[in-house]
């Protein structure tokens, strides 16, 4: 062989080594999934549950001097207020006498706050409305004035909020 043939062969062999390495990786590579979460299910819940370490009330511009907190939550797939019975709890408290209709619930949470002298400082009423819509769930917390809102914010900051709707089986 001529001298330049060796050079060509040498270049081809070097290129072949890199190409072979690339081809081997591609031929043996496999798709993989680490973890087990199904992201599609993360947009739906089977039962309603809301938890947060705080609640901030906003002045309701359409309802003078009242305060509310509203948020959109994930869709709940199998809520049925017609055929099923539910218990609603806020933290460790059962919300008795809640009004539950086909796709919505309404509850009232009454709470009193006492000073260190055991004097009643504030009596607050929190109205809770949860609506189960086809694409999402909406939750609204409503209270009548800024004083009640401040005490409720303090209470939820100290105790967090855990609102659950549990089906009675």
């Amino acid at each position: 062989m001529k001298w330049y043939t060796y050079i060509i062969c040498f270049i081809v062999i070097i290129a072949g080594v890199f190409s072979g390495n690339y081809a081997y990786k591609r031929a043996t590579a496999k798709s993989y999934v680490h973890g087990s979460i199904d992201i599609t299910n993360e947009f739906e819940l089977k039962a309603f549950e809301y938890a947060s370490s705080e609640v901030t009330f906003y002045e309701d511009i359409y309802n003078n001097n009242s305060y509310k907190f509203e948020t959109d939550l994930k869709k709940v797939t199998n809520f049925n207020g017609v055929d099923k019975y539910y218990t609603i709890t806020l933290n460790e408290y059962v919300l008795k006498n809640s009004v539950i209709i086909a796709g919505s619930t309404f509850s009232i949470f009454n709470i009193e706050f006492y000073s260190i002298e055991n004097v009643l400082e504030c009596s607050a009423e929190l109205k809770i409305t949860i609506k189960f819509l086809s694409n999402k769930t909406t939750m609204e917390l409503y209270t009548a004035d800024s004083i009640q809102a401040s005490y409720l914010e303090r209470y939820f900051k100290d105790n967090s909020i855990r609102l659950k709707i549990i089906e009675n089986l």
Partner: protein
């Protein structure tokens, strides 16, 4: 001898040609896409504290720790300030223990614009770069945050160790953006000899931050709490698996064809932020008492939750001897309230309503009917003239503060009046 060598060379060359051909096939003709998906979630330390040792707020905080968490108050209702927060939950070493747990986050007041991101073309400068227009926070327990503008270095030198399927992986921001421009020498008026220039910019956490919030704003779910999206981070991060046998992180030698995805948990609200408690760091502008309005701090000693019970919460027993029904607290309610602390219970027993709706003539409270059941106020009402009997220990150890009866009702019991 020479001939054997030449033949060997030719055979090896032929094999090399075949390898080149196969590589060309995979490169240009094989359309199979090979993708790895890393759901980087649940960054909880393997020896995290017992649930019994945590408060409810701490349990909520530790329930899920995703590698990336974002919090966005868009303030489209103009009732607060626009606030963007991004947090990374990770470990400081591969043991994935609580001691190595850490979260580091960055906070921006207002919306970060593309023009605010400093373009950095020097690797050394980029590696150390921390933007001073952000507030930075970090925590070693996931509960209490410390923050200062520059104490926590969220830059390209930062190596995160994350948990995927209970195994440690290292993730680091190393991405660059390259583009090519052409220039010409001064004498090349005709622009005949272009000179190729490779320009390079080094991504910083501001680029990641900008892309995260662009993705949140464009998510098709809209506003919501605790939502999730997947982000293609392969442009920014490299990810390497830890080799347990050798004690080193493997080289990420497949990042050109395997993209790394991570699931990000986020909250997106149209409200504005009004107080520091809304921040994922419990602080705004490094101020844990930040509030949009000056408010008197609200403090109290104890709270009591009010329950107003009526006849539907009671049980009734018919007495043949006395010819009427006797009321008592239902067992289910008694059991339920035993587990509820600080409940303040008021009971209204409307005798006329029971008669009208249940056709029961209630004439008293049953033996031990409310014994040991703490009641604040008990009201018995009726518009009729009648006698009402409290049987033995009906209200024993109830600590009633107010006992109210309608004018026409006569109570037959020494215990109540004493």
């Amino acid at each position: 001898m020479r001939k054997v060598f030449d033949i060997t060379i030719l055979i090896v060359t032929l094999i090399a040609l075949v390898a080149i051909g196969v590589a060309i096939y995979f490169k240009y003709f094989n359309k199979n896409i090979i993708i790895g998906i890393n759901y980087v979630d649940n960054q909880i330390a393997v020896d995290v504290k017992s649930a019994d040792d945590l408060t409810e707020a701490e349990k909520n905080e530790l329930e899920e720790r995703w590698f990336m968490n974002a919090n966005y108050f868009e303030n489209s209702k103009e009732n607060g300030i626009e606030l963007q927060e991004l947090r990374f939950d990770y470990f400081m070493d591969y043991n994935l223990t609580q001691n190595a747990y850490r979260s580091t986050g960055m906070q921006h007041i207002g919306e970060l614009g593309r023009t605010e991101i400093e373009k950095i073309g020097s690797a050394s400068e980029a590696n150390e770069h921390v933007d001073s227009n952000f507030y930075y926070y970090d925590t070693t327990n996931g509960i209490t945050w410390s923050g200062d503008k520059l104490t926590t270095r969220l830059n390209r030198n930062q190596l995160f160790i994350i948990k995927i399927d209970n195994k440690p992986y290292a993730i680091q921001l190393i991405g660059t953006y390259k583009w090519i421009t052409y220039s010409y020498l001064w004498w090349d008026f005709a622009k005949l000899v272009p000179i190729k220039n490779v320009n390079i910019l080094y991504y910083t956490y501001l680029d990641v931050f900008y892309d995260v919030f662009k993705a949140i704003k464009s998510n098709d779910y809209g506003f919501g709490t605790d939502l999730y999206i997947t982000l293609d981070l392969s442009e920014y991060f490299t990810i390497r698996e830890y080799d347990l046998e050798k004690g080193v992180f493997k080289t990420d030698d497949v990042s050109d064809i395997i993209k790394n995805y991570a699931v990000m948990k986020f909250t997106y609200q149209e409200n504005g932020a009004r107080q520091s408690s809304q921040s994922m760091f419990n602080s705004i502008e490094i101020n844990p008492k930040w509030d949009i309005e000056e408010k008197e701090p609200v403090e109290y000693w104890q709270e009591r939750v009010i329950y107003n019970l009526n006849y539907e919460d009671l049980s009734f027993r018919f007495s043949d001897t006395l010819g009427g029904y006797f009321a008592s607290i239902s067992l289910s309610n008694k059991n339920m309230f035993e587990s509820i602390p600080r409940a303040k219970i008021n009971i209204v027993l409307d005798l006329d309503a029971v008669l009208d709706n249940k056709e029961m003539n209630v004439i008293g409270l049953d033996y031990n009917g409310f014994e040991n059941f703490k009641i604040y106020k008990f009201e018995i009402k009726s518009e009729r003239e009648l006698e009402f009997t409290l049987l033995d220990k009906a209200l024993n150890n109830t600590n009633i503060q107010e006992f109210i009866v309608s004018d026409g009702i006569t109570i037959n019991d020494a215990e109540v009046h004493s």
